[in-house]
Structure formats: structure tokens, C-alpha cells
């Protein structure tokens, strides 16, 4: 589904990501973990076209998407969420997901229909599935942090992605919010047969849902495999997990 080959990125003399290989199979839930500054966000930005790699390739379904502009990548079936919450704050919750439906279904250049009425049913169904049905008319910026993250997921889902990249989906959440949103993610991924690649700080979260884990350290993958293998890896324990 997603293949990353020899991906590298240097900022000046600093190699933020260095020769990373990664493969995520269809329907798989995979995580990239690593200490702060390991290069996780850079890796994501390289995959989604927000940064141009210095070397290496990114393939989705065997199709080379290296260096393709972010707005095109979305149409190729890859959705993403950001580490900082990224919604349209002064639009309503409904208008947020509606915008994503409109552009995804080719309505963007339509300057004559009334957008308000388009895809209402789809929007409402989507909002219900992410647990925001009751807040359709709320201004998005006034939602709680956890709800904004849910909405962000909703915006990404409206483009009907096959693969979803989530950069720290539970960052800044309380323990209960974390728990809820992970349950939500897992359920939606199963329902839609989504391929999921995410980064995360919370090891409990990672080991509870990821089927595959790659550990990034100083821009390099130092271990990858199923949770048990990664947990047992001596190098990983030394640099990251600690001995416990």
C-alpha cells in the first residue's frame, strides 16, 4: 500500500531523515515512534509532499508520488492530520467536513450552486460516525480540543482516503480523551478497511493498536516489526523505551 524507499532529508548539514525504508500493507495499522526530534514529523511531511526529499522515493499502490504537491496527493487516496490541530476555525463543524466533500467530489469550480445544501446526508452520516452529530452547527474553533481532533479526522475521512497519516493523533489530550479517540480510530479503520500510519508519544496507545511498529532514532530506523519484536529489541530499550 505505502512504500518508502531510501528516503532522506537534509536541512543544511543536518540530516533530519536518513535513508528510511518503510512498508505498510493494505489495512494495516502501523506506528512510527521515537524520541523528540527523531524526525517523525519530517518523515510525515516528506510522505505527504509538504517537504521535498533530498533522496529516496514514496510509492502509494506502486505509484510514485515523490515530490507531488500536497493538494494532489489528497486525490490519490492519502489523507492526513496534523500535529497542531488543523481545522477551519470560523466555519461550522458541518461546513468543515462539507468543504472536504465538495472539493473531493469535483465541486470546487462550481460557482453557482448553493453549497449549503450539497451532500448534507453524507456530512451528517460522517459526523455521526465520529461522534460529532450533535455539534454540526457549532463554530469549529469553539470545540474542545479533543473534539477538534475528532473533527480533523472527519475532514480527512471526507476525502475517502485509502491510507491515513496521523501525526500524534492524541497529543495534548487527557487520558480519557486519548482512550476515546483511539477507540474511535480503531473502529473507523476497521469499518473502512483503512490503512493507518501514525506517530505517537503514548506507548500504551501504540502497543494497544499498532500491528507494526518502526522506531526512528536520529533520523534512522533502528528497529521495526510487530510490537513484541520491537519491545524486545535491545537497541530500542537502550535509546528509547528504557528498562521497564
Amino acid at each position: 500500500m505505502l512504500e518508502v524507499k531510501g528516503l532522506s532529508k537534509s536541512f543544511g548539514g543536518f540530516r533530519a531523515v536518513s535513508d528510511v525504508d518503510l512498508a505498510v500493507a493494505e489495512g494495516e495499522i502501523a506506528a512510527v515512534i521515537g524520541p523528540n526530534g527523531a524526525g517523525k514529523s519530517t518523515l510525515f511531511n516528506l510522505i505527504t509532499g509538504h517537504l521535498q526529499p533530498t533522496a529516496g522515493r514514496v510509492l502509494v499502490d506502486g505509484r510514485d508520488i515523490t515530490g507531488v504537491a500536497p493538494y494532489r496527493i489528497c486525490g490519490m487516496g492519502m489523507g492526513r492530520s496534523f500535529q497542531r490541530t488543523n481545522i477551519f476555525p470560523r466555519l461550522t463543524v458541518l461546513e468543515n467536513v462539507q468543504a472536504a466533500f465538495l472539493i473531493h467530489r469535483g465541486q470546487g469550480p462550481n460557482f453557482w450552486s448553493r453549497s449549503e445544501r450539497l451532500y448534507r446526508a453524507d456530512c451528517e452520516a460522517l459526523l455521526a460516525s465520529i461522534g460529532l452529530a450533535g455539534q454540526a452547527r457549532t463554530t469549529a474553533g469553539t470545540l474542545s480540543y479533543g473534539n477538534q481532533k475528532q473533527l480533523e479526522l472527519g475532514i480527512a475521512l471526507a476525502s475517502d482516503p485509502k491510507i491515513l497519516l496521523l501525526d500524534e493523533p492524541t497529543a495534548g489530550m487527557s487520558a480519557s480523551e486519548t482512550h476515546e479517540s483511539i477507540a474511535l480510530l480503531e473502529r473507523i479503520a476497521r469499518q473502512r478497511g483503512l490503512t493507518l500510519l501514525f506517530t505517537e508519544h503514548d506507548m500504551a496507545v501504540v502497543f494497544s493498536i499498532a500491528q507494526k511498529i518502526a522506531v526512528l532514532h536520529q533520523g534512522r530506523i533502528i528497529a521495526h516489526g510487530d510490537p513484541a519484536t520491537v519491545r524486545a529489541d535491545a537497541e530500542v530499550r537502550r535509546v528509547y523505551l528504557g528498562d521497564h
Partner: protein
């Protein structure tokens, strides 16, 4: 909520349009003159707000497209004796085409650089208008742009009673009304929604698949085209096209109108245009220090209404509605209404 107000059922837009339409029959040439100026400035300000309020683009050079519209229409009608029905669309197309060319470069820059480049282009247009004597009349301008041929109106009962300025006002109001309706439609369309996503969060917009630059350019072209229509009307209204129509203070003026009225509401710029035109006239007739008085009034208005006049009013109404629905009894509610209404009067 929706059914409780009779006010929300009245088609206010139509009411305002009809009231405005009556102005020339009231007999005052001066009022017709002011009303024409307000209608044209209102259209110009709304076209700017398509960039400012809807897309979040700050253009300091919007007057360029107003000026191009004025020159295209003026030159066609005066030099080539073309009818208004050809000159007006030509003005819109000319302005839209110029927006396409200049906008192509502008949207490649962001924020303050976008603003500066748009200003630079408008100064180029000004320089051309000022120097190209053979076509634009240079610093002498293009005086005596004719009125459109409105003789057909003379056979229509009420319209026939009006002087040509009054008849042209009716034409202006219809053109402005149709243009505003079209822009409102565009803003509420899927295309318009894409523009608001760019304003709200350009990074996110591109992540859902919006080609930000292309949509910004499209907005720039549409806004430029409508500014061109406003310019064409203005050239005829003021009986000539002169190079200071494209000089940068005009860009500042339309921006003041837009912000003063409120950029978050479709009608904000129209209210701002009306306010500025009237303030301008009033203060000029009372004192020679009008720009000082005007500046002070603007300062107070901008501080009192950070969301512009319309933003301030709608916040006020929302507050009232909450009060009414809240625990306070009906008496206090209506007393509150009364005080606020007094304040506004």
C-alpha cells in the same frame, strides 16, 4: 429561533433596493448624486471584500481594476462611440484580464508581499494612464465621457419624468444590484466555500485537495472584473476618467470602506461605503478640516466596532437575543431593547 422573528422573513435586500430606487423621484439632484456614488462605491467595496473577507487576501492595488474598467468603458464610449451595452461588458472583461495577468504573479507571494506587489501593479497602471496621452489623455484625463443612450426610457411613464442623471442612476442601481446578486451567489457556492477554507487555513485547504494558488487567482479575477464594472459606471457618473482614479489613495479609500463596514458580512462593505461617502460629504460642507474630522470619526468607529459597523450591530443583536431568551423577565428584556435602540438613534 428561525420562526420567532418577523424581521427574518422580510426580504430586506429587496426592500433596500426598492427604497434606493425611489431616490431620483424625490426631486433632489444632490441626493441622486450621493445615491449613485454610494451604489458604485458599494459595488467596488464588495468586490474588494471577495479578496479581503472571503479569501483572506489583502490587495492594496484593487483600484487598478476599477481604473481599467473606467478607462476601457470611457475610451470605447467617447473615442469609438460604442454603445454602453458593449462598453460595460468590455470594461469587466478588460479588468478581469488584467487581474489574470497581474494576479498570476501576485498569488505566488504571500501576505505583505502579495499586498506590496498588488500595489506595485496598480502604480504601473497609474503611470500608464498618466503618461499615455494618445489613449488615456494623460494628466488631462478623458473628459466628457457621454451618458449611455437612454432615450428609450422617455417613453416609459415614470422613467420618462427623470433627468438623464436620474435615469443613469436607475441603470447604475440595476447593474450594481445584479452584480451584487452574482457575487453573493458566488460566495455561497462550493467555489466560495473553497475560498473561505483558504482564508481559514491554507495549509489544511491544500491537504483536502484545494489548489490554493489557482483558487486565489480565480478570486482575484472575479474581484477584478466586478471592480471593472464599478469603474465603468463611475467614469460615466463623474463625466470623465482621470488618472487619479487609479492612484493609490483610492485603494486605501475602498479598503477603509470595506473594513469600516465589516469584512465578515456580505453587506458590510456597502454599509461602509455609504457611511464614508456620507461622512465625507457632511464634514466637507461644515468644515475645511474635513480630513481631520473624518479621521477622528473613523478612529472612533474602528475602535468601537472592531468587526466593522455590521459586525458590531450583529454582535449587539445576538446579545439582545440571548438577553431575551435568558432568565430576565419580559419587562427587562424590552427595556433593554429600548435603551439600545435609543443609543443607535
Amino acid at each position: 429561533m428561525k420562526t420567532n422573528d418577523l424581521a427574518s422573513r422580510i426580504p430586506w435586500t429587496l426592500v433596500v433596493f426598492l427604497v434606493a430606487l425611489v431616490v431620483p423621484w424625490l426631486g433632489s439632484r444632490y441626493n441622486t448624486f450621493l445615491a449613485t456614488q454610494i451604489a458604485i462605491s458599494g459595488l467596488f467595496a464588495v468586490s474588494l471584500n471577495l479578496l479581503l473577507g472571503t479569501t483572506g487576501l489583502v490587495s492594496f492595488g484593487h483600484v487598478a481594476y476599477f481604473g481599467i474598467g473606467a478607462y476601457v468603458c470611457g475610451i470605447l464610449m467617447k473615442t469609438y462611440a460604442m454603445p454602453f451595452s458593449i462598453a460595460l461588458p468590455a470594461a469587466a472583461l478588460g479588468a478581469a484580464f488584467a487581474s489574470l495577468v497581474f494576479g498570476f504573479f501576485c498569488v505566488r507571494l504571500t501576505r505583505i508581499y502579495f499586498a506590496m506587489l498588488s500595489l506595485a501593479f496598480s502604480q504601473i497602471i497609474w503611470a500608464i494612464a498618466y503618461k499615455w496621452n494618445d489613449v488615456t489623455g494623460g494628466d488631462q484625463g478623458l473628459p466628457d465621457v457621454p451618458y449611455p443612450d437612454l432615450d428609450w426610457m422617455n417613453s416609459i411613464p415614470l422613467l420618462g419624468d427623470l433627468r438623464i442623471a436620474g435615469q443613469f442612476y436607475v441603470v447604475t442601481l440595476v447593474v450594481v444590484g445584479l452584480s451584487l446578486a452574482a457575487m453573493r451567489r458566488i460566495i455561497n457556492s462550493p467555489f466560495g466555500r473553497m475560498l473561505t477554507t483558504i482564508r481559514e487555513n491554507a495549509e489544511r485547504a491544500s491537504a483536502i485537495g484545494v489548489d490554493v494558488r489557482r483558487y486565489e487567482l480565480a478570486a482575484f479575477v472575479v474581484a477584478g472584473g466586478f471592480a471593472g464594472i464599478a469603474g465603468a459606471l463611475f467614469g460615466i457618473f463623474s463625466r470623465g476618467v482621470f488618472s487619479d482614479y487609479v492612484f493609490w489613495p483610492k485603494s486605501a479609500e475602498v479598503m477603509i470602506m470595506t473594513i469600516l463596514g465589516g469584512i465578515d458580512h456580505f453587506w458590510g462593505p456597502v454599509v461602509g461605503a455609504a457611511t464614508l461617502v456620507l461622512l465625507n460629504q457632511e464634514t466637507t460642507s461644515y468644515t475645511e478640516y474635513w480630513s481631520f474630522v473624518l479621521g477622528t470619526i473613523l478612529l472612533v468607529l474602528l475602535f468601537a466596532f472592531p468587526g466593522g459597523i455590521v459586525g458590531g450591530l450583529s454582535a449587539g443583536f445576538a446579545w439582545l437575543r440571548r438577553k431575551r431568551r435568558g432568565a430576565a423577565g419580559p419587562e427587562t428584556g424590552s427595556a433593554e431593547v429600548a435603551t439600545v435602540e435609543v443609543k443607535r438613534a
